[in-house]
């Protein structure tokens, strides 16, 4: 597990316009800049809300990241159902 690297990727996409643009152009290539496990890379690239959350991504990194991918409040809540 490399939660730090996973969160770093998300932080860069959320907060740095130039990095966000690079990510948008080729997410898979962008993710290679981070030391991620296969599962982490998959979760990030698929914007798998539930898996990213259970991996421990901070909620205030995760929610802005999912908003960039147009995940609605409803779908976000649905993805986390049962984890309360």
């Amino acid at each position: 597990m490399s939660l730090y690297q996973l969160q770093k990727l998300i932080y860069h996409v959320n907060r740095d316009a130039a990095q966000r643009e690079r990510y948008r152009q080729d997410p898979a290539a962008f993710a290679k800049n981070y030391e991620l496990t296969e599962a982490e890379a998959k979760a990030a690239l698929e914007v798998d809300v539930r898996t990213l959350y259970t991996m421990g991504v901070h909620s205030l990194l995760l929610r802005p990241f999912t908003l960039l991918h147009k995940v609605s409040n409803e779908n976000y809540a649905k993805a986390l159902k049962g984890l309360e």
Binding site: Q7, R15, S59, L60, P64, Y76, A77, L80, K81
Partner: protein, 271 residues
């Protein structure tokens, strides 16, 4: 002049970004109180506002996360959130006071970090939108880590506030001091939308009773379990209680606003 104004306020982004999602009367009452607090702040004619605040990954990441950070920039831009529905602005800073505060800390009992460039997210910008109309008064941000553990303990935040208060009380400038954050909320979490009203009311009661023993006895776990990941922000209120420890806290408003997913509080401290 010493500290001449002190208040604590929540900063739920829904207050401006999705105001109308809240029940009309509840939103109007709370926001009217917020604006009136701003009128009283202006009437106190401060030279500067010291903001005990937090941030949400706007400036800091896990490569370097300060427990306390004092801003000493000439200005601060915000808000970083495009969707906050608050006009972007450049907030004047007070680099001189920031530096003096920092030096006093390093010469005394605390070792905060400092920053000459900070962006304001809604945590600082939303309260200033209501309390500092036109961003007329310069601001010195003092950021407490209430974002990610390990965080400074509430008792440490109280002591830090007490230290800052002592310094500011002997300053020549007229100083308003505000705290921002809380109360209970679980932003972006599976429990998002939950508000722990009994916790919030008890916290407000401790403030009103100047029960500093109880305020400093909160543990990280207790806040986390009872008030949520967002509830950690009450550390700024606890620091403010330390800064104006002889003052009486008056509750202006408490509204558990479900669509804003936050127990929203407004407290003014009076000498």
């Amino acid at each position: 002049m010493p500290i001449i104004f002190a208040a604590a306020a929540s900063h739920a982004p829904g207050m401006t970004a999705w105001t109308e999602a809240a029940p009309k009367e509840q939103a109007e009452d709370f926001l009217a109180n917020y604006q009136q607090l701003g009128v009283r702040l202006a009437a106190s004619k401060p030279d500067v506002i010291v903001a005990l605040t937090v941030e949400h990954w706007a400036n800091f990441f896990l490569n370097s996360m300060p427990a306390f950070c004092i801003g000493r920039a000439a200005h601060y831009d915000g808000p970083i959130e495009e969707w906050l529905r608050v006009p972007k602005a450049r907030v004047p800073g007070d680099a001189k006071l920031g530096t003096e505060l920092l030096n006093a800390c390093l010469d005394g009992e605390f070792d905060p970090t400092f920053s000459d460039e900070l962006l304001f997210d809604h945590a600082t910008f939303l309260p200033l939108h209501f309390l500092n109309p036109g961003m007329a008064v310069p601001v010195v941000p003092v950021i407490l880590n209430a974002l990610t553990p390990p965080m400074p303990a509430p008792k440490r935040c109280f002591a830090f506030g007490q230290f800052l208060g002592k310094f500011l009380d002997s300053h020549t400038k007229r100083i308003a001091i505000i705290a921002t954050g809380g109360l209970s909320h679980w932003p972006g979490e599976a429990k998002h939308g939950k508000i722990n009203v009994p916790f919030d009311k008890q916290f407000l009661e401790y403030l009103a009773n100047r029960d500093h023993a109880r305020l400093t006895a909160y543990s990280h776990e207790e806040i986390h379990n009872e008030a949520g990941s967002g509830g950690h922000e009450i550390r700024t209120w606890i620091a403010l209680a330390g800064a104006v420890r002889g003052w009486k806290a008056e509750l202006l408003s408490y509204e558990p606003v479900v669509p804003w997913a936050t127990g929203c509080g407004l407290v003014e401290f009076r000498q």
